[in-house]
């Protein structure tokens, strides 16, 4: 469970006692921006008074997620022998505090090892930006199963209704290319599954700079408060400034297969 050390060894895929095993951190070797979170890497999760105060970015880009308000901190729990960060769907959320600048690209990939969770609709997994459908932003949620959305000034989204229960663990990969005029592609368990699409307007330009990555919450237009929360659970999450290849997606799925119960 803790075969990989956080930091240098993790980033370059050196396992204790094994040389150069593949880890998702290797995907960032040729990237200029991104973030990688893994609750199974013990040192990456800071627990304060029983809750998660910080979830460190393992990509090397330093986009650590934090929460200063005690009641809004998620918990870490063990499922299937692995660690997960679990939000209560009431007020829990984590945010980056630095400048997560994606203004150099119109292509990103998001992946998540996640549980849909019970409770409210609007189960936001990850959102970039200050506003729902904010120009240049994106989100992934478990509305209508799994939804991936690129926004600004219109939006393009795809939804897959492939969850069979509220406790099912999945590895989801969403490829978001703003240049194609098409909704994101979603890989569920390493398989590209066709789902319903929605398009409104057109997307122009790259993603925005100077933005915040947020987990488990949807932020309103003022950016001061979140208005919708997700009772979801994440064991790992990644954002990278390029489209992963099918071979890389297969590697990701295989890497996370044990914790996702695949």
């Amino acid at each position: 469970m803790y075969a990989y050390g956080y930091g240098y060894g993790y980033k370059f895929g050196w396992a204790k006692g094994r040389a150069r095993a593949w880890t998702p951190a290797k995907l960032f070797a040729g990237s200029t921006r991104g973030a990688l979170y893994d609750a199974d890497i013990d040192e990456s999760v800071t627990i304060a008074s029983g809750v998660v105060s910080q979830w460190k970015d393992l990509s090397g880009f330093g986009h650590h997620l934090t929460q200063a308000t005690s009641f809004a901190r998620p918990v870490r729990e063990s499922i299937n022998g692995h660690w997960w960060v679990a939000a209560d769907g009431m007020d829990d959320n984590l945010r980056t505090e630095d400048n997560f600048d994606l203004s150099h690209t119109d292509k990103i990939t998001i992946w998540a090892v996640m549980v849909r969770g019970a409770g409210n609709p609007g189960r936001i997994i990850v959102e970039m930006g200050n506003t729902y459908n904010h120009a240049g932003s994106f989100y992934m949620s478990t509305e209508s199963g799994i939804r991936a959305n690129m926004g600004g000034p219109g939006y393009m989204q795809k939804s897959l209704d492939t969850y069979t229960s509220l406790t099912e663990r999945k590895v989801i990969v969403a490829l978001m290319d703003r240049s194609t005029g098409e909704p994101p592609l979603i890989y569920d368990g390493g398989v590209l599954t066709d789902g319903s699409s929605a398009i409104s307007g057109t997307l122009t330009g790259p993603y925005l700079g100077n933005k915040t990555l947020s987990l488990f919450a949807r932020w309103n237009a003022s950016s001061a408060v979140a208005t919708t929360y997700g009772a979801s659970k994440l064991s790992a999450l990644g954002v990278i400034d390029r489209l992963l290849t099918e071979e890389e997606i297969a590697k990701l799925t295989a890497y996370y297969a044990d914790r996702a119960g695949v």
Binding site: D42, E43, V45, I47, A48, S49, G50, V51, A68, T69, S70, F71, A72, R73, V75, D88, G89, M90, D91, D92, A118, G119, N120, P121, G122, Y132, N133, N220, V225, A226, T227, T228, A231
Partner: protein, 126 residues
Amino acid sequence: MIEDVEYIRVTIAVHPDNVPDANQLARVLGYGPDDDRTFTVPGYQHDDGNAYCVASGLVKPAFVEDVFVEDLPEPEWGADMEAASRAQAKVVIGGPAQPDKIAAIVGDDPQAALVALGLTRSYPEE
């Protein structure tokens, strides 16, 4: 990494009129100055027509006693103790949510706590 401390979950409903005082009480009973942002948006609705702010989190079991302690000590990061005291006088353990009370439900499931508080989530227009 793993603390050897047991925690309980408490889910609290606050009418918007009481939010400033309740946030000062959270600042006193909490772990840092940012706990005065515990209650934010009144995103929950009661059948009586009132909206409420709800927060849910883990606390030490002593919380259910500490919240009623007279003359709470001011935290090192400071707080409006008069406001905290006003909020303290309105705390009740158990539901339902009431405009002139700060209702706290102890229990692991925040969704069950919402039921006990008589609240449902209201959503902003998208």
